[in-house]
């Protein structure tokens, strides 16, 4: 999308070193927040933020770097959540196996739906993914293993590798933080790999990428599946943290929420989805007492972001940062001339 194209065009070669440095800073800040967070904020809420931040990060992989807006990512989040909850509850699998199973199920679904959905792009892609996700919603509603409206409740948190008891909130917090941080590093690695660069080239000008000999369809499918894997992982962890999986996870409102998170935080930026997830989750939580207006507020944020704040929080900050760096460089250059 155009706004991200601008901001990314600016990140290219000239400021490459500063971009890497600011990324390092970003990871440092995230690590610091993870460590200090539980002192100030309720740890369960922070775990929720992390799960949704991963969800948004996975979604952003597709939107921000692949240029494809999916309106049905709740399907992968939800399948991850259901499968891992079921594995942990009905089969008594340990958490690491359950989460792996959930992630794998999401990947499988991602491959199947990816093949169908990437046949169209742009708005069609958005509508097709929405419809496919709705199909999954209906299936989850009808098949017995999901527990229908009640969902899967009382999912055991279990013991990690048979050793670490996760029933303690802080222990679980540690585990979730590690998974979160590692996945984030992985996403960053993907984005800045040659693969990621090809993706952006396709996003910005597909015809040129084809003429350079890239099989764009495969790249698009690959990023779609990668994105669903990260989202399914987020869903699978959410099931263990909250000990439940429910229809909310696969509902289209969840798909809308992840779009909102990414939009608010700044699409096409690495840390934007994190910030966006924190903002939206916090808003939902702290505004719970005014309940019925939450959706109106979310809608308002949507409209406001689209009309006047398309770069999102992180995107705007980054632009600001770049501009001030450029200004400083300009000033020193002038000073040198003088």
């Amino acid at each position: 999308m155009s706004a991200t194209a601008e901001s990314n065009a600016a990140t290219k070669p000239p400021v490459k070193a500063t971009a890497a440095a600011s990324r390092l800073w970003g990871f440092g800040v995230v690590a610091l927040l993870i460590i200090l967070g539980p002192v100030v904020v309720y740890p369960v809420l922070l775990m929720k933020v992390m799960c949704f931040a991963l969800f948004a990060a996975g979604f952003n992989l597709l939107l921000g770097f692949g240029g494809l807006l999916s309106f049905g990512h709740a399907a992968y989040f939800g399948i991850g959540s259901y499968v891992s909850a079921y594995a942990a509850k009905a089969w008594g699998w340990p958490p690491e196996a359950a989460v792996t199973a959930g992630t794998a199920a999401g990947a499988l679904l991602g491959v199947i739906f990816g093949v169908v959905a990437i046949r169209r792009q742009g708005i069609y892609f958005a509508m097709i993914t929405l419809a496919l996700a709705q199909l999954i919603y209906f299936v989850c509603l009808q098949v017995p293993f999901t527990g229908g409206e009640d969902g899967l409740q009382s999912v055991p948190r279990g013991k990690l590798l048979g050793l670490v008891d996760l029933s303690n909130d802080l222990t679980l917090y540690g585990v979730v933080s590690v998974v979160f941080f590692l996945t984030l590093l992985l996403v960053s690695r993907i984005v800045h790999s040659p693969f990621g660069h090809v993706l952006r080239a396709i996003r910005d000008n597909e015809a040129r990428a084809i003429s350079l000999g890239y099989k764009t369809v495969w790249y698009r499918l690959a990023v779609f599946v990668l994105s669903t894997v990260v989202c399914a992982l987020a869903g699978a962890m959410k099931a263990i943290v909250f000990q439940l999986a429910s229809l909310t996870d696969v509902h289209w409102t969840t798909s809308g929420e992840v779009v909102l998170m990414t939009l608010v935080g700044g699409m096409g930026t690495l840390f934007g989805p994190l910030v966006g997830a924190a903002v939206v989750v916090a808003a939902e939580f702290y505004l719970a007492s005014i309940g019925s207006w939450v959706q109106v507020i979310e809608g308002g944020i949507f409209v406001a972001c689209v009309l006047g704040f398309r770069a999102g929080i992180v995107g705007t900050l980054a632009d600001f940062g770049r501009r001030s760096i450029a200004a400083r460089q300009g000033a020193s250059a002038r000073a040198a001339v003088n």
């Binding site: 229908g148 409206e149 409740q153 909250f242 429910s246 939902e284 719970a288 007492s289």
Partner: protein, 403 residues
């Protein structure tokens, strides 16, 4: 959260400060009303449940008895993870002692589990999954108002007895719809009726016409609606369009509330049979309370869920007052040992599995000409006595029931 309620709490605290000389050590209680304030059940519970809770505190004159009650409230948006998150935070950080209402079974089951883990008290009025006092029962959870079994029992049992021998079910095609149908079908058969056929309707559905056509073709005496909320409203509206009841068939809602009837209007809902635990126009006690409630709540008469929040909190406060303590285990034991008695549900008791026993009522929705004014919706067909209204203790599969 619940900023507005702080004011009420402050007023209560003030009242206690000025008006209660010679009181023993005060008990401070924090009550959390957790329900749907924006979604499909907002009219059933919502802000009205909070109002009912406030009325319980005032009517009990809690402050005079040295019990300081602070009421907080939140919207779980019918999402179990949001509900669970709020419940955890309330118990862990905000010092909430008892959670009330909680419609939507998925959220209620999650809150029930957390309440047990944290050893607090959960008095459920809004959700009706019979599992809450069945397989997933908890010593810390009380299910006050209704459950799906009791609704099926009231409607199906009484209607078969009154001549509705053959049944056709329109079933919402998911676990909840199927369990609703299963319960009702068992009761129909046990009472000597037959189930002619049933059709699984995808959920959620807006158009029921083709299914109603199948129901009409079955010539069953009764068409049972094993669905809820918007689906039920749509089904009833279209049943009236297709002249189902004019054709001699009866329509039975297995999960319909007065808020749904209000939404339908009598023109469409007339003749519908349904079971509720409470109706504002039952007796002097319910009328007196309901009129006070309506005066405070924009003229809307209370639903049974709101009435259940009131009665449940009242019973809880009585136990706290008797013990002068809010220790969860002791209060729960006291609540279950003491017979329940309030103007809304009459006399009753709480079973070991958490089920509150009280009378249930089979109503028929009035025709527009029978109704004398707003909210005059029901005529009483039959009272189902407390002893027969609910699932027998041994059949729920609750592990707390010994032997």
């Amino acid at each position: 959260m619940g900023v507005a309620n702080r004011v009420a709490a402050l007023a209560l605290a003030l009242a206690a400060f000025t008006g209660g000389p010679g009181q023993a050590a005060d008990v401070k209680i924090k009550v959390g009303v957790l329900n749907d304030r924006s979604g499909i059940y907002a009219d059933l519970g919502g802000e009205g449940s909070v109002e009912a809770a406030r009325m319980a505190v005032e009517d009990f004159k809690a402050a005079d008895k040295g019990i300081m009650v602070d009421i907080v409230s939140a919207d779980h948006q019918n999402k179990p993870d949001i509900g669970a998150n709020i419940a955890r935070q309330w118990y862990d950080q905000d010092g909430v002692d008892v959670i009330l209402d909680v419609p939507t079974s998925s959220v209620a089951l999650a809150v029930s589990q957390i309440t047990r883990e944290k050893n607090k008290v959960f008095i459920d009025s809004g959700a009706g999954a019979a599992d809450i006092t069945g397989k997933q029962c908890s010593p810390n959870t009380i299910l006050w108002t209704y459950d799906t079994y009791a609704l099926a029992k009231g409607t199906a049992g009484a209607m078969v007895k009154n001549g509705g021998k053959s049944w056709f079910f329109l079933t919402a095609d998911y676990v909840f719809g199927h369990s609703l149908q299963k319960d009702a079908a068992a009761i129909v058969t046990a009472a000597g009726g037959t189930v002619v056929d049933s059709v699984n309707v995808p959920f959620p559905a807006t158009d029921f016409s083709s299914f109603l056509l199948q129901a009409q073709a079955s010539h069953a005496d009764v068409v049972g609606l094993a669905n809820a909320g918007g689906d039920t409203v749509n089904a009833i509206k279209q049943a009236s369009e297709f002249g189902l009841t004019q054709g001699g068939q009866k329509l039975a809602g297995l999960l319909v509330f007065i808020s749904d009837v209000n939404a339908l209007g009598l023109e469409a809902a007339q003749g519908l049979n349904l079971t509720e635990a409470f109706y504002w126009d039952l007796n002097d006690g319910t009328r007196e309370w309901s009129k006070r409630f309506a005066a405070r709540h924009g003229g809307k008469m209370p639903t049974m869920v709101q009435a259940g929040v009131y009665a449940g909190l009242l019973h809880y406060l009585k136990a706290v007052d008797a013990l002068k303590s809010k220790d969860a285990a002791a209060v729960l034991a006291k609540m279950k040992a003491t017979p329940t008695d309030d103007p809304l549900f009459g006399r009753g008791s709480i079973r070991v599995d958490g089920r509150t026993l009280h009378d249930m009522y089979l109503f028929q929705v009035k025709t527009p000409s029978e109704s004398k004014g707003p909210w005059d919706y029901y005529k009483l067909i039959q009272t189902v006595p407390a002893a027969d209204a609910f699932r027998p203790l041994g059949e729920g599969g609750c592990p707390l029931v010994k032997g």
